[in-house]
């Protein structure tokens, strides 16, 4: 916790070193941790803020954050992850990874049924991995790129055979990456147009009840849930509140119990935190691990020169950004990998705030100031994600202006932003990208040459290309030896930090703001998108 006013929620920690066959141990530790704090009570309905409204609740087809928040209670995956990203059992009760790192065997829970009463079996898992997700999931292609076969030797065992060791694979089983879909409903149909798509059927602790568009989505307790005695809650209401100020007021008045991600603007957080009935939690975003940066189009002069990009970074005071724009929420990044995920190294060049060095670098490049004292002119496309990012744009424009980089702001809405960035029609913009726990899943895609793809968002839109970086990312992703892998990731972080393909601004922390009557609001690395099976309300 970098920020002193953030509190951890009461929960057990389940971090153990071994990666294979942990089985039910983690769940046990977690359960006793909760019980020691207080005796959970059954009953009550949780009121959760949801914004924006999700397009649908079929998690296999749509994985936006709001969809995950609701559908994460309806669907389940094979694994869950604790705050240190160690796997915990979910629909898989045990799992083994062979020593060569190429065979993953999952032993499934017995006695699990779908919400319509059909039994859940290994066939559902095979169907999801081989037929459903490859057609519908934007990340399935890369998550499963090394999978050679998926087989079910019996009803409660699933075996994934890989064509090469791929250590990141163990992190690809959280519920938004791998939601298990019911084969008996989808097999042989057009997944996108299935008539059951407005009636999500999962195995999770809550069942879909009703959706009044623009108003509320209601989930009810699954009385036949496979974990005896769970869930504690009778139901969950997800309320759509489209205005950020109104959301803050609804938490303040106690009408709603919980906000998450960027529901509440950072500048409202200190005020809400003062209130005795609200608590701010920053755990539960370790899978997302968002990293915010200035994205730079290397096709435009002088942005193609690493010295110019370094000059921009020296000119910016990232601590000021963290403390005054994000109100203390976040950490100053040292490089491309978020420090809460695996393979992070701080053995890199550290850029301190040094405006004079910025000017020196530009003079070294041979740039000369014009009559207004400007060395260069650049255009910044602000990220249209609310007031905080608008303030950030204004700060960047002011601060770069101070060292002689004249910034023009060019505003657009989110569709226009996506269109321009994906098609390389920008100079500078801001972006924040999720890392999904492992560099092979969420980091390398931003920097490797073969991901320079016109028209595709969250690819290498900068046009940065260094073959050594590509080699290292490719080799590290399939390296089974942890030490060698760490060495390769360290080298790639050093290269990227020296060449600065983008300017990393902030390892963002999202505030989960919860009414203190709610217990166990976040217990895993996906926080509010988790099942809420062990969440309860103290009356």
């Amino acid at each position: 916790m970098t920020s002193k006013h953030m509190r951890r929620a009461a929960h057990g920690s389940a971090g153990t070193g071994a990666s294979a066959t942990i089985g039910g141990l983690a769940a046990l530790v977690l359960a006793t941790g909760g019980a020691m704090a207080d005796e959970p009570q059954h009953g009550g309905t949780l009121n959760v803020i949801l914004d924006p409204e999700p397009p649908m609740l079929i998690l296999g087809i749509n994985q936006q954050a709001p969809t995950q928040k609701v559908a994460g209670k309806i669907y389940e995956s094979l694994l869950r992850y604790d705050f240190d990203l160690e796997p915990m059992p979910s629909l898989a009760r045990e799992w083994d990874i062979s020593d060569d790192g190429m065979t993953y065997t999952f032993h499934l829970q017995e006695g699990v049924t779908w919400h319509d009463g059909e039994p859940f079996t290994a066939h559902d898992v095979v169907f999801t991995a081989t037929e459903f997700l490859p057609e519908t999931h934007p990340r399935a292609g890369s998550n499963f790129r090394h999978v050679e076969s998926v087989e079910a030797p019996d009803d409660h065992t699933v075996v994934f055979e890989l064509d090469t060791p791929y250590p990141a694979f163990i992190l690809a089983f959280e519920v938004a990456s791998f939601p298990i879909m019911p084969a008996h409903i989808y097999e042989g149909t057009d997944f996108n147009d299935n008539e059951m798509n407005d009636q999500p059927i999962g195995t999770g602790p809550f069942v879909f009840d009703s959706w009044s568009r623009g108003d509320v989505i209601r989930l009810a307790r699954n009385d036949d849930y496979w974990q005896e005695g769970l869930p504690y809650l009778d139901g969950i209401n997800f309320r759509m509140v489209p205005d950020a100020a109104s959301r803050a007021l609804a938490l303040e008045s106690g009408d709603l119990d919980m906000s998450s991600f960027n529901n509440i603007e950072p500048f409202d957080v200190p005020r809400l935190e003062e209130l005795p009935h609200l608590e701010v939690i920053t755990d539960g975003y370790e899978i997302a691990a968002p990293l915010a940066w200035i994205e730079i189009n290397h096709r435009v002069e002088p942005l193609d020169d690493p010295r110019f990009r370094q000059a921009m970074l020296y000119a910016l005071d990232r601590e000021f950004i963290r403390d005054n724009i994000f109100m203390g929420l976040g950490r100053i990044p040292t490089g491309p990998i978020n420090s809460v995920t695996v393979e992070y190294s701080d053995n890199v060049h550290i850029y301190e705030h040094d405006p004079e060095r910025a000017v020196e670098l530009m003079e070294e490049m041979g740039l000369e100031p014009d009559d207004d004292g400007n060395y260069a002119e650049v255009e910044l496309l602000p990220l249209p994600y609310g007031e905080t990012f608008t303030r950030l744009s204004e700060y960047i424009s002011e601060t770069l202006g101070d060292v002689g980089i004249d910034v023009t702001l060019r505003s657009t809405d989110s569709a226009g932003w996506a269109d321009r960035v994906a098609n390389w029609n920008y100079e500078l913009t801001k972006n924040f990208v999720y890392q999904y726990g492992d560099p092979a899943l969420g980091v390398s895609r931003t920097y490797v040459c073969d991901n320079i793809r016109e028209g595709v968002l969250f690819s290498n839109t900068m046009g940065y290309c260094n073959e050594r970086v590509d080699e290292l990312f490719a080799a590290a992703a399939t390296e089974n030896d942890p030490d060698e892998r760490a060495a390769m990731y360290e080298e790639v972080q050093q290269i990227l930090v020296d060449e600065l393909p983008v300017i990393w601004l902030l390892e963002m922390e999202f505030p989960t703001i919860v009414n203190t009557r709610v217990q166990n609001a976040t217990t895993t690395a996906i926080g509010v998108a988790d099942t809420f099976a062990d969440t309860w309300i103290r009356e």
Binding site: P242, D243, S253, D419, V456, L457
Partner: protein, 325 residues
């Protein structure tokens, strides 16, 4: 009643023509905006995969040439089919019909409130011109006129929901209570108070000022003096002679503003999380959900056209000298 049906037929034909042009212009305008629903959805998913985006475009029918899409759309609209929202996996007509009652309840209540209060306050102010009550009413009207809607809404929430705890701060009704009949109507009514005040106060101010000046103008006319001199009571002069004439400009203006009211409801629906079509339209715009946005435009255009016809009919009731033709 032959004149009435002739009037209606002519106005409806004209309205259909206007609607056709509106649909064409809207279609072209929306497509001129950068980005499409597939890029937006890829952006929201936080992941890009070229094949995935291409598959979305194909499903949404965005691969057809633009003029084909336009032809198909316009033909469908005039057959009563507003299309399908692939983003929400629902027919557009269903989405709109589900949300329309909430918007109508909000805007009609706000309209009636604004009109009734506006005429009442305007009349009171005119009757007491120059006295303190006149000054109080004109000041109130000025403040209501000058305050931005969203700010007023937030301040009302802060006062009545957070501080006093009298009224709910957002939503259409309480969830989880499952009220029936009268209890439900009361519950919705409580949720309706703040949004209606927020939306209605601005228009109330407009009508107050308009009614006041119009009454003062008519007040000096010869027929009013005549009425007075023949001994008609002051109250009757005001209601039967002055108001009847003074209200015509107010009605004209109110007819115009029916359309504005739906525009204003976008803001109010956002601040109060009111599940109406104003928000549906706003979300559809942000998400480039073309079919939904066009559908909302079609429905609101129809409403405004219908409202204008009704306004013209109301004229003849208030002033028999005006004939529909």
């Amino acid at each position: 009643m032959a004149w009435l049906s002739l009037f209606l037929v002519r106005r409806l034909l004209k309205a259909a023509g206007i609607l056709f042009v509106i649909v064409l212009i809207n279609f072209a305008l929306i497509r001129a905006a950068p980005g499409d629903p597939a890029t937006v959805m890829a952006g929201e998913a936080g992941a890009g995969d070229a094949e995935y985006v291409e598959r979305l475009r194909e499903r949404f029918g965005l691969n057809e040439p633009l003029h084909t899409q336009m032809f198909v759309y316009v033909t469908n609209v005039f057959q009563g089919d507003l299309g399908f929202s692939y983003r929400q996996n629902q027919p557009v007509m269903g989405l709109i019909l589900e949300r329309l009652p909430a918007t109508l309840l909000l805007t009609v209540t706000a309209f009636v409130f604004a009109l009734a209060m506006g005429i009442l306050l305007g009349t009171l102010a005119a009757a007491n011109v120059g006295r303190w009550s006149d000054t109080a009413i004109t000041t109130l009207a000025l403040i209501s006129y000058a305050t931005p809607l969203f700010w007023l809404g937030l301040m009302l929430i802060l006062l009545f929901s957070v501080q006093l705890g009298w009224l709910p701060s957002f939503g259409y009704e309480s969830t989880g209570r499952d009220y029936e009949g009268l209890a439900r109507a009361l519950d919705v009514g409580r949720h309706l108070v703040l949004p209606v005040l927020t939306l209605g106060l601005f228009y109330m101010a407009v009508y107050t000022r308009l009614a006041r000046s119009s009454i003062l103008e008519v007040h000096e006319m010869d027929f009013v003096k005549t009425a007075r001199s023949k001994g008609v009571s002051e109250r009757n002069v005001m209601v039967r002679h002055i108001l009847r004439n003074a209200l015509l400009p107010v009605i004209t203006f109110a007819g115009f503003q029916a359309g504005h009211l739906i525009g204003g409801s976008i803001l109010v629906e956002t601040v109060f999380a009111w599940p109406g079509i104003g928000r549906l339209a706003f979300d559809a715009l942000i998400q480039r959900d073309y079919q939904v946005l066009l559908g909302v435009f079609v429905v609101t255009s129809v409403l405004v056209l219908a409202f204008n016809i009704v306004t013209d009919l109301i004229y003849t009731l208030i002033d028999p000298r005006i004939e529909v033709s």
